[in-house]
Symmetry: C2
């Protein structure tokens, strides 16, 4: 190799290897290890036949087939964007049991939507058009570590906002903003980020009675500039119990401050990598311009496939199947946790999500679950892998809890989920201080 080094950009020089990469490699390279860490989706229920049918139907119309193989536009296929807007308005109307607000207004329209390579690409571009180094994002903590890594790569500071059983704690959010204003840092606060349905990693949702207040809080704190709220709704349709809640969009009828990110990766198939955001017009214009530089449009084929499956009803039928599959896996994991650790409930706690793909566990604070802990090594040698909870807090958060774990029931079969929990419980019992 040449001894003369490449001169990288500041951006690249500050980038660090995501520690999660190691976890993923371990999970893939050793089949004896049960990875409750991987964010992959259920393998068995992937919609193989449904996709074949969708292509077959699509291909009967030569015009649509050719469109699927030609370049599209940067914001993406117009009919799919319209279909997504209709669907969102319907979901919100239904969640609100009828009328949205006095005028039945809702900001979702085809023109306010852009399609991307998963919602991740659009989350990235949002960061790109909003964040300079030193800018601030207020994020629920624990939170989605992949996006925290992307935000950090822009030199942004993520300030963690406490969460409880009802999701983001709005009192803590407000007091954080008060502190930032006192420190003259309000101008650096660009947006609030929350996974509002079945948060990754806790599985818990933003409570119904915090939704309108969150949007109103953002409006109230739009002092020097507009404070935006980025609602990541990746898991919204993966609900196994209870009723859907209205999105934050429903409380932003003019489309001024809420950005809603959705994806077909979780509820349909990750291999299709199609997601979307709905955003205020002036923001969307910048996102589209930036996406023009990235790829001038995601794959047409994938967009046509999703549209076809939405139109034919195959998407909804698949979703119904998927809900049953995941519901059973979640029940299996919770049941096994109860069997194994039910008598340790005063020392070991876990969430009871109504949807999503994750369960969040808290051990006694004296017990570290970090990657360099003896607990982690013991779990690995016992053949089970989890995401250490500290990954779900900003790197800069020195006080972040180090005694938590994220468990995913997405990828493994019910039996493997149960076996994984059993292995993990064995490790936990060994590490718990004798009572």
């Amino acid at each position: 190799m040449s001894s003369i080094p490449i001169s990288f950009s500041q951006r690249a020089r500050h980038s660090v290897e995501a520690p999660i990469s190691y976890l993923m490699e371990q999970g893939i390279s050793n089949p004896d290890i049960i990875s409750l860490a991987a964010g992959l989706v259920d393998q068995e229920s992937l919609p193989r036949e449904e996709i074949a049918e969708a292509i077959s139907h699509l291909w009967k119309d030569p015009r649509r087939a050719k469109d699927a193989l030609q370049y599209g536009t940067t914001p993406g296929h117009h009919a799919l964007r319209g279909k997504i807007a209709d669907r969102l308005r319907d979901m919100d109307r239904h969640a609100l049991k009828g009328t949205m607000n006095a005028d039945d207004r809702h900001p979702a329209t085809a023109g306010r939507i852009v399609l991307g390579t998963g919602s991740q690409q659009l989350l990235y571009i949002l960061a790109e058009v909003l964040l300079d180094p030193g800018d601030i994002v207020l994020g629920s903590a624990p939170g989605y570590f992949v996006y925290m890594g992307a935000l950090a790569s822009f030199g942004a500071r993520i300030i963690p906002i406490d969460t409880d059983a009802g999701g983001m704690n709005l009192d803590h959010l407000e007091s954080t903003l008060v502190d930032l204003e006192r420190s003259n840092l309000l101008a650096r606060v660009k947006f609030i980020y929350d996974v509002t349905y079945f948060n990754n990693p806790t599985g818990l949702s933003l409570a119904a009675d915090r939704r309108r207040p969150l949007v109103e809080l953002a409006e109230r704190w739009s002092k020097t500039h507009r404070l935006l709220v980025l609602e990541d709704a990746a898991y919204r349709e993966l609900r196994y119990h209870g009723n859907d809640e209205p999105s934050l969009l429903a409380y932003d009828p003019e489309g001024e401050r809420v950005i809603y990110a959705g994806t077909f990766s979780k509820p349909l198939a990750p291999g299709i990598r199609t997601g979307y955001i709905i955003a205020p017009d002036d923001l969307l214009e910048q996102v589209i311009r930036q996406k023009g530089h990235h790829d001038f449009g995601s794959a047409s084929l994938n967009q046509q496939l999703v549209l076809e499956m939405l139109e034919s009803g195959a998407y909804d039928r698949h979703l119904a199947t998927l809900r049953k599959v995941y519901s059973a896996k979640l029940a299996g994991m919770l049941d096994q946790l109860d069997q194994e650790l039910g008598n340790e409930r005063d020392r070991v706690r876990w969430t009871m999500p109504e949807g999503g793909l994750y369960v969040w566990m808290e051990l006694p604070t004296s017990l570290s679950t970090t990657m360099d802990s003896s607990f982690f090594q013991h779990a690995l040698s016992s053949g089970v892998l989890y995401v250490p909870g500290n990954f779900c807090y900003p790197d800069t958060d020195a006080g972040a809890p180090r005694h938590c774990l994220r468990l995913s029931f997405g990828h493994q079969s019910i039996d493997r989920c149960r076996e994984g929990v059993t292995r993990l419980a064995g490790v936990i019992r060994q590490h718990l201080p004798s009572s």
Copy 2:
């Protein structure tokens, strides 16, 4: 709309609407206009049946079907990366009529390849990991305007390098580097960019006897840091006459300084949006890390489809068809140009490409073809659209020629290509000074 503005990043605040957007809209919204501007590919030959067959075959293997629908890895499907590497080595060996070099070494391996959403996404990420504001890229001029726009969005300075019938002029390249060294700017020169086969917009390739010297020049000028060469080979396989030339990779056996970008958008189908780069190991590591933030991997489905078509031979069969289609269109366009303007050859010149999708025209220097020219308006009212040549030079190049045009024969039928040329020739004749 809220009166309180969004606080965008520096990046977004400096971004400008690409003027080409207007052209594209005109071409799409008015079917009476023959757009010789659009970069779309031939509609009739899109491989509808071949894709249906590929899916059908792929779907027979449940394992591969599931892989196509699941998340993949950030660098992309390993078998496809291996297939691409094999193919490139074979192409270069064939172009060199046997042995590559003393040791028959070639840098293309699966491990040095990353797949992306088109090659554009990877060109973007390369800029992201290499360029800080004020950094310099040396690019053949005229050159690919979409990438020049992306580079400019990073605040990079693109210094145009003259081209002639043999592509990039290496003497001008060298003298530019001498000047930059004298100005103490050598440390800012990150890479040389060239579309080495059938350049967009000229249709001309880098001459065989400039290929090794270009790589050697980059090595010689790697003084404070490694000077990289980005070889954009998007059109390589769209050759209609003559023999393939070895890539620059063939002259960089250790994989130290050449980045090779390829795509399946042009030779297969843009709707699949799958491209790749081969890059030095230390650079690729940064690209993959950055792509992890963007999307942690492009769509698996599309990668499996391309792999299947490479393995079955469908890709090569389609390419043979496509070469015939485009060869006829190119011949039609050149013939019509000759019929219409053959007797103006001393004042109106155009290139005679052996491949690609574009013909480049030069009018007398007194004649402006820019979007605000009377010539452009006259062409529009005559129902023909072209890309004004000035778009193919960096914005900052005040001395850029304003009397050229790019004509694409990619999207229109032969008859429409001919009719478009006839309309354009009418406008040209009216604007030529009377002789």
